[in-house]
Amino acid sequence: MLRRDFFKQAALIAGSAAVGSTTVDADTTTHPVDNRKVADIAFPQKRPLITYSDRPPLLETPREVFANPITPNDLFFVRWHMPMIPTYINPHYFSIKIDGEVEKPVKITVDSLKDDFEPVEITSVLQCGGNSRSAFHPTPGGIQWGPGAMGCAKWKGARLKDVLAKAGLKKGAAWIKFHGLEKPVYTKTDGFVRALELDKLHDKIIIAYEMNGEALPYLNGFPVRLILPGFYSDSWVKMLSNITVTGTKPKLHFMDHAYRVPDNECECETPDNLAAKTKPIEEMNVNSLIGYPTSGIQVKQGAKLIVRGVAFDGGHGIAKVEISTDGGTSWQKATLDDGTQGSYAYRSFRHTLMPKQAGTLSIMARATNTKGETQPFAEEVKWNRGGYKYNGIDEVTVEVIS
């Protein structure tokens, strides 16, 4: 019933989304396109990844990387909105300008960020709001990602709060605007600018200068980017160069039109009846992904098969991950790691199977967080026009050989 021979439909090349509106009924959700192949060209500081565009670079991490709870920098997904991205930055010259509703506008260099502020380390998932968008039909606006528009890294940086304190917020300050160095080709196109309500500022939001113990790769925002643990990555501005404090909510395309979901209980709508009110996507919902095995591989009957993957949510923490091999009728608890990386990090899980019968074997994973929120079946995920927040139960299908 809930099983679907989805991987037969999956595209083998990254360029095309095979699950188009021709094969699937309108207003239904499936598994996202899986098994896209990595490109034969590697981008700087990266291994070859699933590549949708070079200008701007859009690179997706292949599934097998999620067998581990930390995503290496050279396998970390890449997503820019604008094609003009600096390919050289002198970290000793680069600075973040802070102005607007502040007592004293300041410029903060990377060296000062490292030397003058208390360093904070946090392991956190970075996930695009449109991750797995290819699961939605009809096709919503945006890049048709598979499930790998995410990663988890150890970030090190200075608290945004401390940095803002250096400039001193004025009484009327209410919003913080962030701008990075990416630029549109055509000057009339709105730049990629994001804003955060001052009320939502907390101690875990940092400006990071290190990712997994190294400088950030250029394509992940060298030399500094904003880290908002628990939130989708739309506001994790890369190559962060300007922070402007404002008294009122700024009007911004990428805030007012993109990265929003229906402002109703189910955060859903239909193509013929779009919700009148929308809200920002913000906090991530509970989700998980199987890193091993991947669909299509062959395993031996009667031999141990260790299923591995990652689970996460918006910071409440993962309570359990369950595995099903009968299409979601019965579930067994997987073993979770010790959780020492904190509640914003991937919680890795593993579960040993011993396939008894030759033939096709479906393996599903379902995570539940400490609030009791759990993942719906892929088919139960409700549509929204932007294709955001997909969190359907993951499934891989392997061939058991005798």
Binding site: G15, S16, D54, N73, I143, V185, Y218, L219
Partner: protein, 110 residues
């Protein structure tokens, strides 16, 4: 220019995993972005569409959408004009939509 890009591509392919030293070198010298071809299907309206749709981003954006209806492509072209200010004249919209639908269509009008 193109030659430089090709060299960068070859250099990048040789690197399979980056150590801290290579990482440092990249920071000191900056990076060279590879050029990737996202070929367009030959057909009526290709050149005109190429000029209009490859200005702000690669053709990969279009390929990534998969086969779509004529209405989908029309809406997408209009989105580019209305939302991102794509400089496409009213009288040129139909040719672009026809090209997209003919070559990247799913056979459905709507």
């Amino acid at each position: 220019m193109r030659k430089q890009m090709v060299t960068a591509v070859i250099a990048a392919v040789l690197i399979t995993s980056l150590g801290a030293e290579e990482n440092k070198a990249e920071i000191q010298k900056g990076i060279k972005m590879p050029y990737m071809a996202f070929p367009m299907k030959q057909g009526k309206g290709m050149y005109s569409t190429k000029g209009k749709c490859n200005m702000c981003h690669s053709w990969g954006y279009v390929l990534n959408q998969g086969p779509q209806s004529k209405a989908f492509w029309r809406k997408k072209v209009i989105k580019m004009i209305d939302v991102f200010q794509a400089p496409i004249k009213n009288e040129d919209i139909d040719e672009v939509v026809e090209y997209l639908y003919k070559n990247y269509g799913n056979g459905k009008e709507n």
